[in-house]
Amino acid sequence: MQQDTIAGIASGMGGGIGIIRISGENAFLAAGEIFRTRKFIKIEDENRKDIKKTGNSKEWDSEFFLKKESHTIHYGYIIEDDGSIIDEVIVLLMRGPKSYTCEDVVEIDSHGGAYLVQKILKLLIRHGARLAEPGEFTKRAFLNGRIDLSQAEAVMKMISSKNEFALESAVNQLEGRVSGYIENIRQEILHHMGYIEAALDDPEHYDLENFSEELYGILQKKIASLKGLLSRFENGRMKSEGIHTVIVGKPNVGKSSLMNLLLDEERAIVTNIAGTTRDILEETVQIGNLNLNLIDTAGIHETGDIVESLGVEKAKEYLNQADFILFVVDVSQPLEESDDKIISLISGKKGIILLNKSDLSSCVDEEELKNKLGWDCISFSNKTGSGLKKLEDYITNSFLKGDIAYNDQIYLTSIRHREAVENAVKSLEQVLVTIEGGMPEDLYIIDMMDAYQKLGLINGETASEDLVNKIFSDFCMGK
């Protein structure tokens, strides 16, 4: 039996390629809608990096995959609704029951990067797929007799243990702030529902005169807040993948080689996004269970005097956003004025001093540096790689202790959250339509409750008794 169509990421985050799996009755169609073969791509510049637009896609047949044999592989591109290309991919088709879930399954192998994978997933959701629950592919595989109970249980267990880990881990800190923000909005919605309900339950006591105008204004504001959150999603997505870490230091102290060392091929490169200027390189590396979003400010400094260069503003901006700073000092040279300038820029922030070239004799007063910034020092050598392990441990420990936190801006970090917020916005907009249509107040509740519950998904809360409790706590009821 085919069920509704679900989509999810089948590969672990951080792997070399990213696999998106789609399963269900419309899997082939949904994939067909976002896919184009090379023939349908107009490449404006042969240099692949600059591919911007597809050609006319009018003739494209969205039922392309439906007409293909099962267990075939197709090469092509995933395109945005506006025609721009997201990624070059390979698509595998498996017709049920000969598939993992025994349903029609499509797997899209993309170039990896969490960012691209999420983008494709989002696109699929717009094209009729639903985001898979944790373990849902496995559940379907089991329910359709594809795997047996012990296999299913093993997978379910893995999923739940993963969740438990997430609870303790870093990610939770970030999500904690999102939930705080969302929770405030939820509570306000709840309060107003409580008021309406109190008035419905005890009409001789509370009246709703002029309430709809007031509510309209309030909801508009809530919608704007939620939309703001959505607009920061893209950004948040990247953000959540790493602690914003900025490498600073005078020219030629070894910043770039530190970067390269951290980017050692054994580490998974999660994303590789060019910065806003050619001078700034941004990479994400994994250290332990953490992702570092590394920014090398190399280019800026090399343009000349740090204070006078145009790059200062840029550097300041990055330093402002930084969660953690790696201040690289070359111990083979004495400190000079430009080091002091850097110190004044970064003082008050969190970071660590890396005493590079520690294999050479030192002419830097370690204690003095420590005192100036209140940071710890790690001796380090790009050449030998010594101190690297220490640095990694330091970062991990600081994070777990809470010394390093993400930036204060509230970001949505998962596509699941995004979906929840989007749905909540839709529901609240529906309330506005209801108010505009002059409908009675009790009908507002249908969609307000919907929004309230959707937002609750982010915090994993259920709403069952909330409204009733709210009515009693905020409003004096009864005879």
């Binding site: 969740n163 339950d201 009409p203 001789e204 249509g437 009790d442 008794e465």
Partner: protein, 626 residues
């Protein structure tokens, strides 16, 4: 010395609103019923507010009526004022409320019981429910008389070990000074039933002649009374009505309360039972909502043949002298003479999570429990449980599956599911906000929702059922016609639209589309609807609501489909949760304790997470398969 008397099919303990409905339903289904009451003069007594219905409670009465119950018919006989509340709001929250003549109400119900075949009334107190091998075999009274029976429905209301309190005074009586039932609790505990203690209260009654009504606002009934019962027509029910009166407490009232708050047994700790939040005493309101400088007070007549007036909004357990002073600060009550003092009442009730949705104890066969004894409050909530317990006790004896209404079918379903799935820590009152699918569960369509079930059960006559089918047909035909009938931008149409402040038509549309405009209605369209046939008022009402709120109704129907999916996944009674690998500990405990009947019910138990539900689903599929 004990005597064994004749055997009955079902014994009902208590003849309040739950007991009456339970006994009538089971007797009408052909079973021999014995009803015990501590006072034969207090059948269907209303010991608190003198009205039936109100927000969401009116829905319950309509549903009881649609299933073939008595409450709606009885209040239609005996109301002295009637009002449809929330008329300016949507149809889902329109709620009927009628002031009753309390004595008449009680007498009328007594008459119905006394004239029902198979139903015997007996004054007496049941001391013990006899159980052998976890199966009911009979009851024993305090006088040691044994009545064998196959099922017992316990509807003891607020009588179990009842205690009435105001100030330092406490009387070990039930409401209105009636005898309490002091023996049954011990039997329940011996049977392993989890018993708890709840508290509620009632305000004072004052002599009408001593009230200055000129200082109050008059609250009249509706000009055109709508019946509670689907069996009555409007024409039959128009009668002269009495008024209620509105006044307010003030700073002086609150000052007296605060100065004497330490003398309230609620605050001194003398009352330990859990009170209801929705029906707080005036001292509770003043303490908890200190920023409010006044609270509403309604003076409601207790009946046509008494001068007693009920002081709605001011229940209390303060000492007599404080009550005196406090009531006299209220405008219009300065010289009021108090006939009965306000008091709080404490009583034993059971934890309802021990019941199945049929209202039978999960582990005592043939033992049913309904009404305030289940931790609910309110006459209507009691009646709703009573009829379900009566029907299901009868069906049990006939070897039929119980009737279980779910949350998408009826407020009764919401009520019972809440009680047995979530339990309650205070006397539970129905509210429209508790019903997720409120727009579908309207008071105007209770018959369309439930009368067919009532007919299958055997409580609704063939004639009544056929009339319902005809009504359904008329509604659907008329909706079809409205959807089909196109309307052009003719002069007559534009004129009608203009008159109603509605946008003029640019092109043709259907009648149904026009009806959706907020400023138009089915009635208003009659001028331009030339082919319209004369239809009964109830039919027109349904057509209007169904078309006007179509979008919202469809959305709720979609939600119901989702809800039903899990609801229809039944959990076998024999399930061994220890066998369900990888349930979380808390979920395991809760599932073992509650033993839900469906996956849907399981998902509503607090402490059971969506992940637990997935695990459970997988297990069920594997074990009980396709």
């Amino acid at each position: 010395m004990s005597y064994t008397y004749e055997e009955y099919d079902i014994v009902v303990i208590g003849a309040g609103h739950a007991g009456c409905e339970a006994a009538l339903a089971a007797a009408r289904l052909g079973f021999r019923i014995l009803v015990f009451t501590v006072s034969i003069d207090s059948i269907a007594m209303m010991p608190c507010n003198p009205n039936i219905g109100g927000s969401s409670k009116g829905h319950l009465v309509r549903e009881v009526d649609a299933l073939g119950g008595e409450m709606g018919i009885n209040i239609d006989k005996t109301f002295i004022q009637s009002k449809m509340l929330n008329m300016s709001k949507g149809p889902a929250v329109h709620s009927l409320r009628a002031q009753a003549d309390k004595k008449d109400y009680s007498n009328a119900m007594r008459q119905v019981l006394e004239n029902t075949e198979n139903l015997i009334l007996k004054q007496g107190e049941v001391a013990e429910v006899l159980v052998e091998n976890r199966k009911v075999t009979g009851v024993r009274t305090v006088s040691d008389a044994i009545y064998p029976c196959k099922a017992v429905i316990m509807c003891t209301g607020t009588y179990l070990q009842a205690r009435c309190i105001y100030g330092d005074v406490s009387n070990y009586t039930g409401p209105n000074g009636l005898a309490a039932a002091n023996h049954l609790t011990k039997c329940l505990i011996d049977l392993g039933v989890d018993v708890r203690r709840f508290k509620t209260g009632t305000p004072a009654r004052v002599d009408k002649r001593t009230i200055d009504f000129s200082k109050m606002q008059e609250q009249k009934g509706d000009e055109k009374v709508v019946p509670f019962s689907f069996t009555n027509t409007e024409e039959e029910l128009q009668r002269e009505q009495v008024s209620c009166w509105l006044t307010y407490t003030n700073e002086m009232t609150h000052k007296i309360i605060m100065e004497n708050i330490d003398r309230s047994p609620l605050y001194s700790g003398n009352i330990k039972g859990t009170g209801p939040r929705y029906c707080p005493s005036i001292e509770d309101k003043v303490v908890r909502f200190a920023d409010k400088d006044r609270h509403q007070v309604f003076l409601e007549p207790e009946g046509n043949y008494t001068n007693e007036m009920y002081i709605g909004g001011m229940s209390s357990s303060l000492p007599e002298d404080v009550q005196h002073a406090m009531y006299h600060t209220v405008p219009g009550l300065e010289n009021a003479s108090i006939v009965r003092n306000a008091y709080a009442i404490e009583y034993d009730c059971i934890n309802p999570v021990q019941l199945k949705a049929s209202l039978e104890f999960k582990d005592i066969e043939g033992f049913f429990c309904a009404g305030q004894a289940n931790g609910s409050s309110g006459y209507e909530e009691a009646a709703a449980q009573g009829i379900i317990a009566g029907i299901n006790a009868a069906r049990k004896l006939s070897g039929k599956d119980p009737i279980i209404l779910d949350r998408s079918q009826a407020y009764i379903g919401v009520l019972i599911d809440d009680l047995i799935t979530k339990g309650t820590n205070e006397p539970y009152r129905m509210m429209t906000s508790r019903a997720e699918y409120r727009l579908l569960l309207r008071q105007d369509n209770a018959d369309l929702r439930l009368t067919e079930i009532g007919h299958e059960v055997g409580l609704i006559s063939k004639e009544r059922y056929e009339a319902l089918c005809e009504k359904k047909q008329m509604i659907s035909d008329e909706i079809d016609r409205m959807n089909r009938t196109t309307i052009g931008a003719t002069q007559a149409v534009q004129k009608l639209l203009e008159e109603n402040g509605s946008t003029l038509l640019q092109s043709g549309t259907t009648l149904a589309e026009l009806l959706k405009r907020p400023e138009l209605s089915y009635d208003k369209l009659s001028e331009i609807d030339t082919e319209r046939k004369e239809l009964p008022k109830e039919v027109c009402e349904q057509v209007n609501i169904n078309l006007k709120y179509e979008g919202y109704i469809k959305r709720q129907e979609r939600q119901v489909i989702q809800f039903k999916k899990l609801e229809n996944r039944k959990i076998p009674e024999a399930i061994d949760y220890n066998d369900v690998y990888s349930l979380r500990k808390e979920a395991l405990q809760k599932l073992k304790e509650y033993r839900p009947s469906s996956v849907g019910q399981a998902s509503r138990i607090s402490g059971v997470s969506p992940a637990d539900i997935s695990v459970l689903l997988i297990y069920l599929e594997k074990k009980y398969g396709k």
